[in-house]
C-alpha cells in the first residue's frame, strides 16, 4: 500500500515535470534602447512586442513566451554584454529589440554564432542584407535603404531637380543617402554629414540656404529630427525650401513635439496610425488603452515583429531549432498592422510604401495623414547577393 502510494506520487511528479517542460516558455531576449534621447524609440518597440504577447495571454502563436528586457543605452558594447550574458546564463535562443544599426552591427554576429535567432523590429543595416545574410537573421521592419528609397521616389514624383541631402555620419546615415539616391535620380548638389550627437544645425542650414536647392532631404531620427525641424522653421527655410523625409524623421512623436514646424513636409512610411485594416485598428486601440499614449511607427514594428514570431512558433509547435520555425517565419502567415507583407529571399520585407503628410487635426494638434502609394511591394537592392 505504502509502496504503491510512493510509486503513484513518483509518477505524478514525473508527469508533472514532463508537463512543465512541455510548458517551459520560450525565452525572448529584448535588447533595446530605453535611455538617451533615442529612448522613446526602444520603449515603443518594446511596448508593441509586449502588447502582442499580453493580448494572447502570455503566448505568441499559442506558445508560452517569457521576455527578458534590457536597455543597451545606445552603446554597442553594452548591448553585446547583455546578449552574451543571456546566451551564457539564460540560454536565450531568440532575440529582438535592437533599434539602432550601429548596435545591430556589433551584436547580431554574436547571436548568430551562438546558434541563436534574431528578428529585427527596426534596424536593417546593409551589412547583413546582401552577401552576409543569414538563415537565422530576419528583419521585420525594412532594409535601411528602403525608407529612403521611398523618400527618393517621392522626391522624383514631386519633380525636384536639384537637392541637398543630410544624414548623420554613421552606418544608417550612409544607408540613407545611398537609398535616397537610388530612387531619386536627380542632381545632388551637396551631401552634408552631421554628428550623431549634434543638436544645433545652424551651420548646415546656412549652407543649404546658400546652395539654393529645389528641395532638401534629411534623415535625423528621434530628438535630432525634432531639433532639425524646429531650427528649420526658425531659420525661415520652411517656407522657402520644401523638405522630403522618410518615416524616422517624421513619425508620430516628432510631429507632436515639433508642432507647426512639421506641417507641409512630404514624408513616406510603410505604416501610419490611420491605416484602415482590422489588425491596425485593433492595435491602435489596444495600444492607446494599455499605455495611454499614441503608438509610433516603432510600436507598430514591435507589434508586427511579435506577430511574425508568433506565426513561426505556431508552425514549429514552439521549437526554435526546427526547420519548421524558419518555414513558418518565411511563410509569414499572419496579418500585420501595415497590410500586405512578404519576406524576400534575404529575409527582409517586401511591402508597400506610402506618402505621409503632417496636418493640423481638429483639436489643433499635428497629426500624420496617409496619402497615395509611392512604392508597391518593394524589396531591396541587396537581396540578389544573398545566397541562403
Amino acid at each position: 500500500m505504502r509502496l504503491k502510494s510512493i510509486a503513484l506520487a513518483g509518477a505524478a511528479l514525473l508527469s508533472f515535470t514532463a508537463a512543465a517542460s512541455a510548458q517551459q516558455p520560450i525565452k525572448i531576449g529584448i535588447v533595446t534602447t530605453l535611455s538617451t534621447p533615442g529612448g522613446y524609440l526602444g520603449e515603443d518597440a518594446r511596448d508593441g512586442i509586449l502588447l502582442a504577447i499580453s493580448e494572447e495571454g502570455g503566448k505568441l502563436g499559442g506558445v508560452p513566451v517569457q521576455t527578458l528586457v534590457e536597455d543597451d543605452k545606445l552603446k554597442p558594447g553594452d548591448a553585446k554584454q547583455i546578449v552574451d550574458k543571456w546566451i551564457e546564463n539564460d540560454k536565450v535562443k531568440l532575440f529582438t529589440g535592437i533599434i539602432f544599426s550601429n548596435v545591430a552591427v556589433a551584436v547580431v554576429p554574436s547571436i548568430l554564432e551562438s546558434g541563436g535567432i534574431f528578428v529585427s523590429p527596426n534596424a536593417g543595416p546593409s551589412n547583413f542584407s546582401g552577401k552576409a545574410c543569414n538563415k537565422n537573421y530576419y528583419v521585420a521592419s525594412w532594409q535601411n535603404d528602403n525608407l529612403h528609397e521611398s523618400a527618393g521616389a517621392l522626391a522624383k514624383k514631386l519633380g525636384y531637380k536639384k537637392m541637398v541631402l543630410l544624414a548623420p555620419n554613421y552606418q544608417a546615415g550612409k544607408d540613407a543617402i545611398t537609398g535616397f539616391r537610388r530612387m531619386y535620380g536627380g542632381e545632388v548638389i551637396e551631401e552634408i554629414y552631421t554628428g550623431l550627437d549634434q543638436t544645433d544645425f545652424s551651420a548646415e542650414m546656412a549652407r543649404i540656404r546658400a546652395a539654393k536647392p529645389d528641395a532638401v532631404f534629411q534623415f535625423h531620427p528621434g530628438g535630432q529630427g525634432i531639433a532639425f525641424l524646429k531650427q528649420w522653421q526658425q531659420a525661415g527655410l520652411k517656407d522657402q525650401i520644401p523638405m522630403v523625409v522618410a518615416s524616422p524623421s517624421l513619425e508620430q512623436r516628432i510631429a507632436a513635439a515639433a508642432g507647426d514646424a512639421a506641417i507641409g513636409i512630404a514624408a513616406t512610411a510603410h505604416w501610419n496610425t490611420d491605416f484602415k485594416n482590422a489588425e491596425n485598428e485593433a492595435f491602435v486601440k489596444g495600444f492607446r488603452a494599455k499605455y495611454n499614449r499614441e503608438p509610433t511607427v516603432y510600436a507598430s514594428q514591435g507589434y508586427d515583429t511579435a506577430k511574425l514570431i508568433g506565426a513561426a512558433l505556431k508552425a514549429s509547435g514552439g521549437k526554435l531549432e526546427d526547420d519548421a520555425f524558419r518555414a513558418g517565419m518565411m511563410k509569414a502567415d499572419v496579418k500585420l498592422t501595415r497590410g500586405p507583407f512578404k519576406f524576400n529571399t534575404n529575409q527582409h520585407p517586401i511591402q508597400d510604401w506610402y506618402e505621409i503628410k503632417a496636418v493640423k487635426g481638429s483639436d489643433g494638434k499635428v497629426v500624420l495623414e496617409t496619402g497615395a502609394k509611392v512604392l508597391e511591394q518593394h524589396g531591396d537592392a541587396y537581396a540578389k547577393d544573398c545566397k541562403i
Binding site: 534621447p37 551631401e191 543638436t199 531639433a227 526658425q234 512623436r253 516628432i254 508642432g259
Partner: protein
C-alpha cells in the same frame, strides 16, 4: 561674404549657449573641487520645468522663471544632500555619485513625464526675423539668446570682479582655508555658488527648449562639449570658460560650415562631403589637444 557673416553669428550663438553651461560647471569645479557630471541634468530640469510651465500657462515668459527656479532649487538641494558629502572625497567618488544622480534624474523624468519629447514653441514675439544686412535675415530668437548670453557674461564678470560675494568666490577658489580662517561661512558660500551654477544651466535649458528637443538624456548630449570648453579655458576660471566657449563654439560651427567646402576645391564631391563630415565632427577635440599641448592647464589657468 554674407554666408561667412551668417556662420560667424551661428558660431557666436552656439558659443554663448556653451558659455552658460560651462560657467556653472567651471565655478563648481574650480571653487569646490567637485566634478559634477550631473550638471547636464540641471540643464534638462530647466528645460522640462520650462516646457511644463509653457504647456500649462501657454506662455514662454512664465516658462523662463519656472525653469530658472526649478534648476536653482534642485541644484541647491543637490548640494545640501549629496555634493556636500563629496568635498573631502577623491574625484572617483565624486564621479560615481554624480553619475548616479544622472541616472536618478533621467529615471525620474522618464517616470514622471514619460520618454516622449515635449513640445515647446518659440515665443510669438521672437518667432520672426531681423534683417541684419539687406538680404540676410537672422532668427530673432537666436539673436535674443545671444543677448541673454552676453548679458550673463557681463553680469558674471561684474559679480566676480566687483562685488563682495565675487571677492569671496575668487578668494575661495584660490585659498579656501584662508577664507575659512577669516570667518566666512564657506558652507553657505558653496551652496550659493552651486545654486548659481545650476541656475545658469537651467537658463540654458529653458532657452534651448524652443530650438532643440526637450527630452530625457538631453543633458548628456551637451555635457561632453561643455567639459571640452572648461578644459580648454582652464578649469575654475570664468574668463577661461568664456574664451573656451568662444573658441570651441566658433571652431565647431565654422568647421561644419567651411571644412567640406574647402575640401571640395581639391577633392571630388561625394568624397569631400564624406571626409568633411568626419573631419568637422572631430575638430573641437583637435583644438582641445592643440591647446593642451601649448598650454597644459588651459588658456586661463587659475593660480594656486
Amino acid at each position: 561674404m554674407q554666408l561667412v557673416l551668417e556662420q560667424l553669428l551661428n558660431g557666436l550663438q552656439l558659443s554663448l549657449t556653451l558659455f552658460l553651461l560651462a560657467a556653472g560647471l567651471t565655478l563648481v569645479f574650480g571653487i569646490m573641487g567637485v566634478i559634477n557630471l550631473a550638471h547636464g541634468s540641471l540643464y534638462m530640469i530647466g528645460a522640462y520645468a520650462g516646457a511644463w510651465a509653457a504647456a500649462k500657462t501657454g506662455t514662454f515668459w512664465l516658462a523662463l522663471p519656472a525653469g530658472l527656479a526649478a534648476a536653482a532649487l534642485v541644484g541647491a538641494a543637490m548640494e545640501l544632500l549629496v555634493v556636500r558629502r563629496l568635498y573631502a572625497r577623491e574625484h572617483l567618488s565624486q564621479v560615481l555619485a554624480t553619475f548616479g544622480l544622472i541616472l536618478f534624474f533621467n529615471g525620474f523624468i522618464a517616470w514622471s513625464a514619460g520618454r516622449s519629447p515635449l513640445l515647446m514653441e518659440t515665443p510669438p514675439q521672437l518667432s520672426g526675423f531681423v534683417e541684419i544686412l539687406p538680404g540676410l535675415p537672422y532668427p530673432a530668437y537666436r539673436l535674443a539668446m545671444m543677448g541673454v548670453g552676453v548679458a550673463v557674461a557681463l553680469g558674471l564678470w561684474y559679480m566676480i570682479s566687483r562685488t563682495r560675494i565675487g571677492m569671496l568666490i575668487r578668494a575661495g577658489s584660490d585659498k579656501r582655508e584662508m577664507v575659512e580662517a577669516l570667518g566666512v561661512d564657506i558652507a553657505k558660500l558653496f551652496t550659493l555658488v552651486f545654486a548659481l551654477g545650476a541656475l545658469l544651466a537651467g537658463l540654458a535649458g529653458v532657452m534651448v527648449g524652443p530650438i532643440r528637443s526637450v527630452q530625457v538624456g538631453m543633458g548628456e548630449q551637451v555635457l561632453i562639449t561643455t567639459f571640452v570648453v572648461i578644459v580648454v579655458g582652464g578649469i575654475g576660471s570664468i574668463r577661461g570658460a568664456f574664451a573656451g566657449a568662444l573658441l570651441i563654439g566658433m571652431c565647431d560651427t565654422l568647421g561644419r560650415a567651411f571644412v567640406p567646402m574647402l575640401l571640395k576645391s581639391w577633392l571630388s564631391g561625394p568624397l569631400a562631403d564624406g571626409l568633411g563630415g568626419a573631419l568637422s565632427s572631430v575638430i573641437i577635440y583637435l583644438v582641445m589637444a592643440l591647446v593642451l599641448i601649448v598650454r597644459p592647464r588651459g588658456l586661463f589657468p587659475v593660480s594656486g
